[in-house]
């Protein structure tokens, strides 16, 4: 077959955070939104990018001398001139330590599927499968569609994690091969949504209705998990949670099986530094446990089925040392 390819940021095995059971999550590159809290800023651009991970660097400067575009220099660390860097990845090939890292790898459908089937045994024992996340899972539509078709052919449970910005044609292409949709409802106020993400939530709300209707007509075994990132000073306020709850009440469907409240996570701080981007939320604290419980309570009070509400993510640890879990790639939310 003609090789359709896609750009994948990362494949995470044994993910326990991206849908039911044990999953392998494929983080696609490219996202139409620019959320101020984005946990995976390296996933936003569709094109491949280079980053430098200082802790791995041995200072050999092979990258500096090899770069065909003169984009790299060394001044107490590798400095990437983003105006010159074309993301060709030459530096990442010569780097002995993987300090120079190419974000985004081009995969062919067959080889990606082969990779994704490796944990089939665990999918079967756990009711898990594959989640296509991102970035935005629907952006590289054709590629993702082909991957999903093959996965279904192998009897694998599939999920997509989407921000909801896509045309309905993309959904038409993907939904027949998707068992579970993880769908972000971040902010109900359209103005705020624009401020926070760069886009209005009109399309998102339209698409969620479309998906729910599709699910209602093709119910078993399909489901939708709604996800809301709780960002301090942004989405994490009572009125927003109430509004999302009410919207879910409007959608009211058997297909909606879960509403996740995902607590803000600041582990991505150094990702911004590496990409040479300043981050508004750099010093924003995590939610306290009390705050998270408060939002959970509001969500439960206002949504038609309180059992849908689940919370996830780290909360602030009071005390002298914070023991953090392995930084999890969170979805686009």
């Amino acid at each position: 077959m003609t090789a359709i390819t896609g750009i994948v940021l990362e494949i995470q095995r044994m993910s326990t955070e991206d849908g039911p059971g044990i999953r392998t999550t494929v983080f696609m590159k490219g996202c139409p939104l620019k959320c101020v809290w984005c946990h995976n800023p390296e996933s936003i651009r569709l094109k491949q990018q280079v980053q430098w991970i200082g802790s791995r660097c041995i200072g050999c400067k092979l990258c500096v001398t090899t770069c065909p575009n003169g984009a790299l220099s060394f001044d107490n660390g590798i400095i990437i001139d983003r105006t010159r860097c074309k993301g060709c990845g030459t530096c990442t090939e010569v780097c002995p330590s993987t300090a120079m890292e190419l974000l985004g790898k081009r995969w062919e459908v067959n080889s990606l599927v082969h990779e994704l089937l490796k944990d089939k045994a665990y999918f079967l024992t756990s009711g898990g499968g594959i989640t296509i996340s991102g970035g935005e899972s629907t952006l590289q539509t054709k590629f993702v569609q082909q991957v999903l078709i093959q996965l279904k052919h192998h009897g694998i449970h599939t999920a997509i994690d989407t921000c909801g910005i896509c045309n309905q044609h993309a959904l038409d292409m993907l939904l027949p091969y998707v068992d579970c949709v993880l769908y972000d409802l971040k902010e109900m106020d359209p103005q705020k949504h624009i401020v926070f993400t760069g886009k209005s939530n009109d399309g998102i709300l339209k698409n969620v209705r479309f998906i729910i209707e599709y699910m209602n007509n093709h119910l078993y075994p399909r489901e939708v998990w709604i996800r809301t990132p709780l960002i301090p000073g942004k989405t994490a306020y009572d009125e927003n949670i109430v509004a999302i709850a009410h919207y879910i009440n409007l959608l009211h469907s058997k297909a909606i099986t879960r509403w996740d409240l995902c607590a803000f996570n600041n582990l991505c701080k150094d990702k911004y530094t590496r990409l040479g981007i300043s981050w508004e939320l750099e010093n924003a604290p995590l939610l306290t446990k009390e705050e998270l419980m408060h939002f959970e309570a509001i969500a439960r009070e206002n949504v038609y089925n309180p059992a849908l509400v689940k919370t996830s993510g780290s909360t602030r640890i009071e005390g002298d040392e914070v023991l953090v879990a392995k930084p999890k790639k969170m979805s686009g939310c």
Binding site: Q12, R13, M14, T16, G21, I22, R56, I58, C60, L62, P96, S97, T98, K118, D119, A121, Y122, L124, T125, S126, G127, G128, D320, E321, L323, V324, A325, K326, P327
Partner: protein, 832 residues
């Protein structure tokens, strides 16, 4: 300041005042007035000795202390009055008589306050019972110019590994004693003896069987001595309920282990006396003398007593006393420090697992034992190994997960039935003993020590006896059969000239392809395997002549039937295991050579060898590439894992080519590693995978530290693949396991995997998936780096902190700094 609240340390719970007192008393350690430290006994002859160094040849920490221990046990020894004509008896008869005499007439028979199980002191160092000329011969063969010790030291100092005929590591036929008593064993031996011809009676067979008959009466007389103690304590006792207990114990001891047990209390009493005397017989406290499927063979007694009114909690109380007794094995050298000898006992109990129809056999006693473990923990002995499989019941997995969640460094191992049994079936085919291991009985296998799979009651597989550094073959192949560096004697400082030790496999600089190099590696691998089998022959053949264990022989099927002591290969199933160390380091080194020198021509062979000879100093870029840019085993990368399988097939196939000459024991492959990957790291030079000298080698079947960057499932899949994989029609349940002994695999999880019920379900599913894709045995580590670092600084606050290192567990504060750092590195690596 501890980073985490103390409450995260597992605390014992639900202990009665009796057990609380016994447990607290045990942990008082040297402050106790009573303990079970080695007591030494001699025949009184000036040449006599007790300490058999050969059984510790696999413990390099003891090498500098061998002479000290040899002498100090001699000096400390009490004289036992021996009968006239003692030295005219055969050696096994002398040993049988002597050990019985010590256990019955010399060691005190004490009962600790409140204890429900008798059998307190068993750590002994008893006379070798050799005549002057025998001792002279033995000394020459062990300590002489060309003796076992010297050869063993050479082997170790040159980085090959170690080898020695080691005690323990067996599951005696305890069930037979419970069901029939020693009386029956005695009769069985006597019958066989009576059938011997007069000539045979005078010969070795007769000697061995007479010794076994003497040994078979030892537990009866020991039990009766304890019965007397119970009687007199009962007499003095004013508390009526304790008085009643003591009288019941006296009555139990009058029956078992000589007669068959009827009640649960009798059964546990019988089991304990029978077991502790194995440790006395071998003068070897604990390591690997394992119980097997205790929840299966004790279950009829459990049911019997419960049906007749035994309170379930009282049944657990009996088990808790039994647990305390197991822990007293550690008293052996309580005042002098353990010196590496007593750090990893491993009196293993096996729980659950499939039965004949592939259904799980977990029962109420399984759960009672799990409760006991949970309530007693942290405590080291006995070590539980829970057998899991694809159909393990939810209730069992829930309990396992609860225990993993609540115990830091949960003190147990998981064994996986399908893969393990496939290995046992393979071993039966390879050794032509399908009549002894087959689909009708393989489900009754059980691990000894940590995870070393054996059959039960008729099998000695020498599971820790040979530890071979596979990476040595890489070194030799890179230097045409010579060591990289001259060996410097660690004690004298004498420099030994580099000699041709292995075959000349060619100057690697002339190799045109990787296959040329691999050919050299293959020849060197065959050489080091031959070398270790020759070394083993030394101690094995000496033991066969001078160190019989007639009591243990009574408990292992085959010995009486053949009229042959177990040390001479009497067991029906008589293997010795070649445990490969440094596996992943070897695989990654071969992958690095292929990648750097041949496939990508990053450097020449000359440059690589130069870099290794300079310990990578001045070659940092190349070293960094070797570490980071070459394929690695442990990532579920089919290319790298194919190399892993190739290496595995090579060395395992080769190991089947050897048998011991003196005792006809077949070599079989396994991967235990114990802690050699630490110590040998200081001996083996830099390796092509980017490791510097002094850094740790890889542990058992685990990927090189930090190499498993694709998470637990990928790590597990790699392990399953290199063991032979699955989906092989015609093999046992389609599984192949090239390592019948099994392989130690450790995965460290972040505690967040168990943070809520939803995640616990996912973790259970991981374990079920591991049974399909993974290896034969798994240890789950669940540790916090901050806690461990604090424990290094404040060991006094963490006395009970248990950690797992390979197949053995230890109190964190009792292991060396390097190992502590290693454990911490592993945990931190979670943040990769």
């Amino acid at each position: 300041m501890s980073a985490l609240p103390q409450s995260t340390l597992k605390q014992p719970k639900n202990l009665s005042p009796r057990i609380q007192w016994l447990r607290d008393y045990y942990f008082k350690g040297t402050e106790r007035t009573w303990n079970n430290e080695f007591t030494c006994f001699t025949t009184g002859t000036p040449w006599d000795a007790q300490y058999n160094e050969m059984t510790f040849y696999i413990v390099p920490e003891t090498y500098t202390l061998m002479q000290t221990m040899y002498q100090s046990f001699r000096i400390a020894a009490h004289t036992v009055a021996i009968p006239d004509g003692f030295f005219t008896w055969s050696i096994p008869e002398r040993r049988a008589w002597f050990n019985k005499e010590v256990m019955v007439h010399y060691l005190p028979h004490e009962i600790l306050p409140g204890d429900l199980i008798a059998g307190a002191r068993f750590n002994t160092q008893t006379s070798m019972c050799l005549s002057k000329s025998e001792m002279k011969k033995r000394t020459k063969r062990v300590m002489g110019k060309n003796g076992a010790r010297k050869k063993m030291k050479w082997f170790h100092d040159h980085g090959f590994g170690n080898s020695g005929a080691t005690s323990g590591h067996i599951i005696p036929d305890y069930a037979h004693i419970l069901h029939h008593g020693f009386k029956t064993v005695y009769k069985e031996i006597e019958t066989i003896y009576q059938q011997l011809s007069p000539k045979e009676k005078k010969g070795q067979k007769g000697n061995t069987l007479r010794a076994m008959m003497t040994a078979a009466t030892m537990p009866r007389d020991v039990a009766l001595a304890y019965a007397q103690t119970c009687q007199s304590l009962a007499h003095e006792q004013s508390n009526p309920s304790r008085k009643e207990e003591l009288l019941q114990m006296a009555s139990n001891l009058a029956i078992v282990p000589w007669e068959a047990a009827t009640t649960f209390w009798e059964a546990v009493q019988s089991l304990w006396i029978t077991h502790m005397l194995v440790m006395s017989d071998e003068n070897y406290p604990g390591p690997g003398v394992s119980f097997g499927r205790i929840d299966q063979y004790l279950y009829p007694y459990w049911q019997y007593s419960l049906a007749r009114g035994m309170d379930r909690e009282f049944g657990k109380e009996i088990l808790k006393c039994f647990f305390i007794h197991c822990n007293t094995a550690y008293d052996a050298m309580i005042r002098t420090g353990n010196n590496g000898i007593t750090a990893g006992y491993g009196q293993l109990i096996t729980l659950a697992g499939v039965g004949k129809d592939m259904h799980d056999m977990a029962n109420d006693l399984t759960f009672a034992l799990l409760e006991v473990i949970d309530e007693m923990s942290p405590i080291l002995e006995p070590k539980p190994n829970i057998r899991l499989h694809t159909n393990s019941p939810d209730a069992l997995l829930d309990k396992v997960v609860d225990m993993v969640a609540s115990c830091q460094g949960a003190p147990f191992l998981l064994n996986f039935d399908e893969r393990s049994m496939a290995g046992m079936i393979r071993e039966a085919k390879k050794a032509g003993i399908q009549h002894l291991i087959n689909e009708d009985n393989v489900f009754d296998y059980a691990p000894v020590g940590c995870l070393e799979n054996t059959m039960v009651g008729n099998d000695r597989s020498g599971t820790v006896d040979n530890n071979l550094n596979l990476a040595k073959a890489v070194e030799l192949a890179l230097n045409n059969g010579r060591d990289f560096f001259p060996v410097i004697d660690p004690i004298t400082g004498k420099v030994e000239k580099v000699k041709q030790v292995g075959p000349k496999t060619g100057n690697p600089k002339t190799f045109k392809t990787f296959e040329d190099f691999y050919k050299a590696y293959e020849l060197q691998t065959r050489f080091i395997i031959k070398k270790i089998t020759e070394l083993y022959e030394e101690s094995e053949s000496i033991r066969a002549v001078f160190h019989p264990t007639p009591y243990l022989s009574c408990l292992v099927k085959g010995c009486a039937q053949k009229g042959m002591d177990i040390t001479q290969g009497g067991a029906e199933i008589s293997f010795t295991t070649l445990e490969a160390v440094t596996y992943a380091t070897t695989v990654d080194s071969l992958l690095a050579i292929k990648h750097l020198v041949y496939d990508h021509k990053v450097c020449t062979m000359d440059e690589l060898i130069n870099a290794l000879k300079n310990n990578w100093d001045g070659f940092e870029v190349l070293q960094t590439m070797a570490k980071n840019r070459t394929p690695k085993y442990g990532r579920d990368d089919d290319y790298a894992d194919a190399m892993g399988l190739r290496v595995m097939q090579l060395w395992t196939d080769e190991s089947w080519n050897y048998k011991t000459k003196s005792t006809a024991r077949q070599f079989r492959p396994g991967m235990l590693s114990w802690n050699y990957w630490v110590g040998s790291g200081y001996i083996l030079p830099a390796t092509p995978d980017g490791r510097k000298k002094g850094q740790f080698l890889s542990n058992a079947i685990c990927p090189v530290n930090g190499a498993d960057i694709n998470g637990p499932t990928a790590n597990a899949n790699s392990v399953g693949k290199v063991l032979g994989g699955k989906d092989h029609p015609g093999e046992f349940m389609d599984y192949v396991n090239l390592l019948p002994n099994g392989a130690s695999h450790t995965i460290t999880f972040n505690p967040s995997i168990l943070k809520d019920p939803e995640h616990r379900e996912k973790f259970k599913a991981f374990l079920r998936g591991y049974a399909v894709n993974g290896g034969s045995a798994l240890q789950i580590n669940m540790l916090d780096p901050a806690m461990l670092k604090d424990a290094q600084k404040h060991p006094q606050d963490y006395r009970h902190l248990l950690v797992r290192v390979t197949g053995y567990n230890a109190y964190f504060t009792s292991i060396g700094k390097e190992l502590q750092d290693e454990v911490i590195a592993r945990v931190s690596h979670n943040k990769f």
